[in-house]
Symmetry: D3
Subunit: 335 residues, 6 copies
Amino acid sequence: MKAKILAFGEVMMRLEAPNYRTVAQTRSLDFAFSGTSVNVLSGLSHLGYQTELMTTLPDNSLGYAAASYIRSLGVGTSAVSFDGDYIGMYVLEKGFGTRISEVTYSNRSESAFCQSLESHYSIEYLRSGTHIHFCGISLAINEQIREVTLHVAEKAKALGLTLSFDCNFRPKLWKGGYEEARPVYERMLALADYVSMTEKDAMSILGMETGATQRKDQVEALLPKVAQTYSIAAIAGTLRETNASAPTIQGFLVQEGRVDFSTEHSVAILDRIGTGDGFFSGFLAAMYEGKSSKDIIEWATAAGVLAHTTYGDSPITTRSAIEKCRQNQQVDVER
Amino acid sequence: MKAKILAFGEVMMRLEAPNYRTVAQTRSLDFAFSGTSVNVLSGLSHLGYQTELMTTLPDNSLGYAAASYIRSLGVGTSAVSFDGDYIGMYVLEKGFGTRISEVTYSNRSESAFCQSLESHYSIEYLRSGTHIHFCGISLAINEQIREVTLHVAEKAKALGLTLSFDCNFRPKLWKGGYEEARPVYERMLALADYVSMTEKDAMSILGMETGATQRKDQVEALLPKVAQTYSIAAIAGTLRETNASAPTIQGFLVQEGRVDFSTEHSVAILDRIGTGDGFFSGFLAAMYEGKSSKDIIEWATAAGVLAHTTYGDSPITTRSAIEKCRQNQQVDVER
Amino acid sequence: MKAKILAFGEVMMRLEAPNYRTVAQTRSLDFAFSGTSVNVLSGLSHLGYQTELMTTLPDNSLGYAAASYIRSLGVGTSAVSFDGDYIGMYVLEKGFGTRISEVTYSNRSESAFCQSLESHYSIEYLRSGTHIHFCGISLAINEQIREVTLHVAEKAKALGLTLSFDCNFRPKLWKGGYEEARPVYERMLALADYVSMTEKDAMSILGMETGATQRKDQVEALLPKVAQTYSIAAIAGTLRETNASAPTIQGFLVQEGRVDFSTEHSVAILDRIGTGDGFFSGFLAAMYEGKSSKDIIEWATAAGVLAHTTYGDSPITTRSAIEKCRQNQQVDVER
Amino acid sequence: MKAKILAFGEVMMRLEAPNYRTVAQTRSLDFAFSGTSVNVLSGLSHLGYQTELMTTLPDNSLGYAAASYIRSLGVGTSAVSFDGDYIGMYVLEKGFGTRISEVTYSNRSESAFCQSLESHYSIEYLRSGTHIHFCGISLAINEQIREVTLHVAEKAKALGLTLSFDCNFRPKLWKGGYEEARPVYERMLALADYVSMTEKDAMSILGMETGATQRKDQVEALLPKVAQTYSIAAIAGTLRETNASAPTIQGFLVQEGRVDFSTEHSVAILDRIGTGDGFFSGFLAAMYEGKSSKDIIEWATAAGVLAHTTYGDSPITTRSAIEKCRQNQQVDVER
Amino acid sequence: MKAKILAFGEVMMRLEAPNYRTVAQTRSLDFAFSGTSVNVLSGLSHLGYQTELMTTLPDNSLGYAAASYIRSLGVGTSAVSFDGDYIGMYVLEKGFGTRISEVTYSNRSESAFCQSLESHYSIEYLRSGTHIHFCGISLAINEQIREVTLHVAEKAKALGLTLSFDCNFRPKLWKGGYEEARPVYERMLALADYVSMTEKDAMSILGMETGATQRKDQVEALLPKVAQTYSIAAIAGTLRETNASAPTIQGFLVQEGRVDFSTEHSVAILDRIGTGDGFFSGFLAAMYEGKSSKDIIEWATAAGVLAHTTYGDSPITTRSAIEKCRQNQQVDVER
Amino acid sequence: MKAKILAFGEVMMRLEAPNYRTVAQTRSLDFAFSGTSVNVLSGLSHLGYQTELMTTLPDNSLGYAAASYIRSLGVGTSAVSFDGDYIGMYVLEKGFGTRISEVTYSNRSESAFCQSLESHYSIEYLRSGTHIHFCGISLAINEQIREVTLHVAEKAKALGLTLSFDCNFRPKLWKGGYEEARPVYERMLALADYVSMTEKDAMSILGMETGATQRKDQVEALLPKVAQTYSIAAIAGTLRETNASAPTIQGFLVQEGRVDFSTEHSVAILDRIGTGDGFFSGFLAAMYEGKSSKDIIEWATAAGVLAHTTYGDSPITTRSAIEKCRQNQQVDVER
């Protein structure tokens, strides 16, 4: 049976000052709607998977526009609740060279999603899927949505769905720091089959330790233990180097006690946000297609590399583009 | 001594779908920053007055962009506090013909202004002005900012500033309806020297009654009483008719127990929001320049008419444009 | 059981010179994807109906962009075939005042849809719906798609679906004129339950005659006969007058031998194309909701009026906007 | 022999704040290149005439862009001199409703054209044409270009070309007022075969008097005398009424001592500037095609009406659009 | 006598998703008109040559817009036929980093040009030129335009014009592969004086062989033989390396049995399409100006390098920019 | 006492072809208002300083738009005179790769500023400041503004203000070359406390000589002498290398007979113009904050580096961005 993949999480309106300007330098903002859940499903939808988003959007023209946008990405919105008044927003001022990108958030805590109740998410929709994806941000914003998220995850597990989870730890959102986050993350990791995390998460959130000082060594020392501890089928992530003249990324996959690393790619960056979601959607697709662990991590990494080269947070990369990137093809124009 | 005019109130970010589209039909939004206080000061600044805005803006790139925009209107921002995280936002989908404009608000209650304290507004800035303008919306959003607003008004009065007040009653913001609003409005009206209101406000907010059925008769029956009751030097407002083939507006001025009506203008509408602020800034300017009551109301109404013909909420009309409009000059192109 | 509405027809890429310019006066074109089938379904989707489009799109980035756009309108694309190379396109130069809008077509005859075969349209999708809509243009472009269209219609009828048909006669597409069109239209009319046509179609395509000279009289003289002859449950259409100072439209509904006329509306035109589809989607929705014949035609006409006031060919009007238009509400801004 | 029409005059860069904004409200300006000479030739080119512009443009990227733009209108630039540093510019803030359009000029007096010498205009190019058009603005800017203009006109006359002249009196450019202008205009009128002027020009520039008080009576009283006095074959112009609810224009043609008036058209205005040039290019085309005097003035007026409905100063109206406007055809969309 | 250069070939409308987006990610497309013939003439026009395009454009607003655009490039359109209904179009989704640019064509085979007859191309226009350029794409699209192209080339040769030819082999357009193309190309090569091709064309289209494995060696081994076999005065082309960290190009010129190579340039790419036409127009200009073979190939290569740095397919580089690029001048801003 | 910094100089309207196009390739231009004086004050304003511009702007909508824009940068316009008709303009065609940026000026000599008189600059405004900045361009345009500039500088010195001066030598503006410029520059250097110049200025304008051949050696050999000769407290400047694969800049500071060099930064260029002003505003801020000479030059250089990465001529960099750049922090996105 082909997978039908759900994701649970917040949709945000991304507003962006065009052409590398600041907000004060422009009179219009480009916008899109995104979020980890939307992004992972968009990536999977562009690779041919059937997807449905579980979220709550405000019952007003911004909520309808968000749903319209999400459908345009090929992601189903039948499971979306329309209730509440606000949508989370963030404003992006894209950096250039040594100038750093800046993101300003509007008040998320009052958003329709972050105020939603377990009753907004019908068990019927959970039943219709085979897999569901969660994100660490849903665990962070406020206690209400944290509990709703964990309950939905538990229900999904009970119904037999496969669970994936992206740690996505945002320090600013956890007033109580790692101490507060640890038990929450542990509850989610115990439910998850596939996890997106790095060795840094293991050390900070989970408080693990290793004598290794190189990042790859730390991955090998820590992440197989994480997988074992929480009975996670596979952990995938990327090592990102930005201190070189051009940034590079290298993917890793932890499976059955072993770590595979992908080849290292240097990346050209059109749009940085959401590239981790591109990586993880490539990982899930490759996993579902029964590729070898080496192929899985190469495919996932190529998907992540390409997510840097497309506009917007939500991956839109096609299967054929991933294949060409994997094989490092050099073509000027496809015509 | 020439007037230096302050205004106290919220700054909002106005986001607008361009070219009469809905949000779902576009991928970019035009934006500006406005609010009754900004608008009245912008109108006065374009007529040559020195102005200063008293508000609180978030201490982030949206707050800085707002201040930059407000200065571009000629309004001073020395008295602005930068504190807090959020700015109020609204999204405008402009109507066309029989299609009605729609406005969707983001969460205002958590905005930097609506969370601000009396301590954000230094008495030193109040002392620097000769006049201060308030707006009914500041009384409505939450109890905290309501009290802050009234305290600032009382302090200003005590310091000898002239006070103006725009009733601007928004039913959606008063959960307790007119009953809740009445005592609050009465407190503010008792402080105000110049007030923008209509006969409808007298009947609804203040609960006054009259047997008259025509709007002009109601104005004459009720508003001189309001002026007398609350010791208001002058009340000004407009009667707006939209059921005719073209909308018309007619201004009225209540002063010394007498009502003057302006000539009736038909209006071409480029941008509807903020036109009342255009009217009131024209009224204040004419008042400060010692015009006759007939001239004052003609001038104010012309300023209001022109505010319909310019982009944005904030009036930008010049003195010479108001004169031409008053005299109903017909010119194609000024060259 | 709630209706699930299908539509069969071509999707075109609409390219438009912005701001009333000609193509030679601009360096960019706005675009959207539309077509009678898309438009009727978009109208119904915005009124809450579940919809699915049956068409063939090219298997390339234009076809994928079209599907993405159609989904953004809330119309399902599960039943879309991706095959072939081209999409029909047209370029719109919008008129202004006495300057007439001009449309330039690209080659439609070779489009993926116009080259599609019956085998592209699975009976399984037909079975999933309760209603299917067709358009006269599909009968006109070339013989292949004409036969495919008629076969799909016959299959749908045989499966028990309700059929609607918009005559949409385009003289330029019928080289053989009305003589060539008549038998084809008669075949389709005999299958249809609901038809969009006017008295002019009866006289020209069907060759009917009447001594009446006024349009309303002609409607009453001819269209009940058409309904009877072809066993059509209801015929709806609009009378459009453009020679007055402002254009007006008035809807009519022919049902059970009787004609009902709506009130006459004057229309403000933002976008003229697709307004008939707005009318007809309003008609179908009102019909499915069991309104009285008077209410149906008022509702349909209001939907048509509002379709003139929104950007694009595809209606996006909400239920509440139609109600307000029906009741002729005069509001400036909804806030 | 078909006419080959030259025009002598300044090219200006027109910069325009988009969407009815002021310069202070925008961060980009639309631009085009125009001028009476460019406009009349553009109108004629779009009606099928061969045209060549005689002017001087700066020898820099603005000059080259101007030439590129002018060629895009179908006007030849072989006779353009590239010399000097500056191009005349003006910035347009388009009005709306009662708000009046405003034009701000940059320094024209130093422009490449206004600094050009007779030697910039080769007699060889004059010889290649059959007709040449001049404009009153060239007589006004400074003494140098005034003399150059008159010399070129005299040379053209001596070579047997037909001369047309648009009075285009701009009060701001004549420091010495009508007294200064009169002898200059008389010199040009004595050379001209076809003239664009109104009864107001006769009274002001030429100082003529009449007891008539209605504009049409003044036209009849004065302009046949002007034609006779200066041996002008035909004078054409329009009477424009802007005090009505919608502006109207009516054309008149003075020929062989008789005055013909066109039907009166109400005009919808997309772009006001250059409409007189649209009228005059329609007049010249109709004249060259041997139409009757009644037809000439109807055609010219329709061309003028349509020039209000197209973007930009330069007329781009086609023959078929003029025919439809003349016959007052009411069509929604040409498709 | 100065050369007057004609070119024969198709004009296409290029539509482009802006800002590196895909079509599905945008709501407007930038456009231009181009084609090898337009591009080579645009390059020559910007270097001061008189040029005329021989093509057929549709007799509708797209055809007129194309002609207007082409004139804006400085290319004459007197020899253009307006007949037929369609213009060839392609949609460009520009790549970024490892993401490859994609081009989607509309149906070219039915375009006005590809349906044109020999009778559309008057011998009078051929007579007016001294040189005519052809492109291999005209030989590929369908048999009709292939024959028309060859007949026009034969006529031009018979009239004594110099012929240039760009091989421009597009595998997708030749269903019969190299076997089908070879005799057609040989017919054209036998007519041509100047040819744009590479060693790959010699091996594939002409089926030539060499033991050399390095590209420069292959050029030296094969292309002088091609020149000799078909009596071609000069062959020019570029070697492009994209597998290095930055792409590089190096030009070569085959003349009198000798091969000259230019210095190697690394290229920054703003717009990749049409850069070969930039190279070849630089080559033709340098050739006509009697430069040495070393200078010719340096000039041509610099022209090609600069064509990568300008927007659009059509080269717009000036003589002075080519000189600076040749001398590798490093300047920030010319002011 | 905190510094209040004035600057005296011309404001220009910068018009720019967007997206690396030429003027001939676009139909709209982005614009901003800038000038060395505006830029230095903008940089200082964004670092928290109170600033006032002394200039003359035309009394028309371009002048008002300029003032509005300047206020939006945080720079005060109370000291601006509105008089005269024109504003200086320049049009920027931004280069790409080996294509060089080109700037085309409009006539500056007639601008409101360049025609202004000493009487336009009130001594009262000079008194209100503690520091005033001048630029070498004001000395170059015409004799009138040169004298006005020197007199204002002398008055400011007499009033006890600190003076800074940017040499900014523009060869095209000095018809008499270095000989003409030398005595003028010497007069200004004798007044200045802080100067922006390089070793090239010392050699060319001041005619100084050294046997050193390396730029850093020349700086050390010459600039301490300059400082001593003219009693300049500090001289700062940058050494720019563009012949490397990526451009680099390195700042230097001459103070108390010693030269400090900053670390060398490679720069990514979004907008080249005004980067020297970014450097100098960083220098002044660091100077006023009492940093060590090493820290001053590091801070100034970081400010200059960041000025390359922001849109527009006027620096908008914040204190925290400069700190991050100094410490070479590598962050993707600040969120």
